[in-house]
């Protein structure tokens, strides 16, 4: 009997040591809210809060979609329904005025009160099918600074700076001369789309 009582006392002592005594009078609560249970709650809740913070803390990166929209608009402007814009090329000769007034001709606005500098850049190169390395005509518009980031987008940090999209297609001028058109569209807007 004495041995049994001693064992019980030892068990009780162990329980007191292992359990956090939140409610001294309520032994049932004492059992449930053990320190381990509380630790598990904190770990799970902390993990979920951290995941939510990371997920919702970063802005939606929509630049790739925006660059695709941009490239489609540029393509529609220089060539529509498979024919090059007559303001751009007439009689087999490219019009330099179109290039210098590209934003007005294509109804683009690159500046905004939201940003100190322009956040877009586009490069359009026209090639003859027989020589696809040397362009016969080029148009550049926007902030050239962003275009320089495209070839060095190997590291993750640099990938966040800009989104570059490339597209190429064939088109005909009014004399049925064939041209390969290669377009590069770049959207920066880093602060609004990436967590740096």
């Amino acid at each position: 009997m004495i041995k049994m009582k001693m064992l019980d006392n030892k068990k009780e002592k162990n329980q007191r040591f292992l359990h956090c005594n939140f409610f001294p009078k309520n032994r049932r609560g004492d059992k449930i809210l053990s320190i381990y249970w509380f630790a598990v709650l904190v770990i799970v809740a902390g993990g979920i809060f951290a995941m939510v913070y990371i997920f919702y803390g970063a802005p939606y990166d929509v630049r790739e979609t925006e660059a695709n929209l941009f490239i489609n608009k540029v393509a529609d402007c220089v060539s529509y329904a498979g024919r090059l814009n007559t303001n751009l090329i007439s009689g087999g000769k490219f019009n330099q005025t179109f290039s210098s007034n590209f934003l007005g001709e294509c109804h683009f606005i690159f500046g905004s009160s939201e940003w100190e500098e322009e956040q877009y850049y586009t490069e359009i190169n026209f090639y003859k099918p027989e020589d696809s390395n040397n362009p016969v005509f080029s148009i550049n518009a926007g902030n050239n600074k962003w275009g320089r980031y495209c070839p060095i987008q190997e590291k993750k940090e640099e990938e966040k700076l800009t989104k570059c999209v490339r597209k190429s297609f064939y088109s005909l001028d009014e004399l049925n001369n064939q041209y390969i058109i290669k377009i590069l569209a770049v959207v920066a807007k880093t602060k609004k789309n990436a967590k740096m």
């Binding site: 049932r28 059992k31 449930i32 709650l41 799970v44 809740a45 979920i48 809060f49 939510v52 919702y56 802005p59 939606y60 929509v62 979609t65 925006e66 929209l69 941009f70 489609n72 608009k73 934003l103 109804h107 683009f108 606005i109 690159f110 905004s112 009160s113 939201e114 940003w115 956040q119 877009y120 807007k189 609004k192």
Partner: protein, 142 residues
Amino acid sequence: MKKRGLKPTIFLMKNRRGVILVENIIFIILNILFIIILSLFLFRQGNGAVILEQSYAKNIAFLIDSAKPIMEIKLNMEDALNLAEKNGISRDDIVKISGNLVIVKLGEKSSYQYSFFNNVDATAYPDIYPEKNYIIKISGYK
């Protein structure tokens, strides 16, 4: 005689059965409460003004970017309209287009703006019926 195998669990102890049942119920209730609180937290985060403002501003900017003159776009903004009403923001003040900036405001102190590149004259106003829509009208090129 030495007992072999697994020790009988606390569930099988006859004199303590009632106590254990209550403990289990409390444990389950606490677990359910914990899951509910976390789910509510997740739901509130996903439908918060800051997240909705950002997604609608970007969405509208892209709609304008891909639009052509004389287009009228109807956008379902039911959740944004409900949230704005809850926060005391007028239906007419939710979406504003200033220059080439789309500004979405769903909270007293918050707003989000995003620019578009299509140089068009765009206006945004709430639809009369159904009330959950917002209309984005592209009048022409600037």
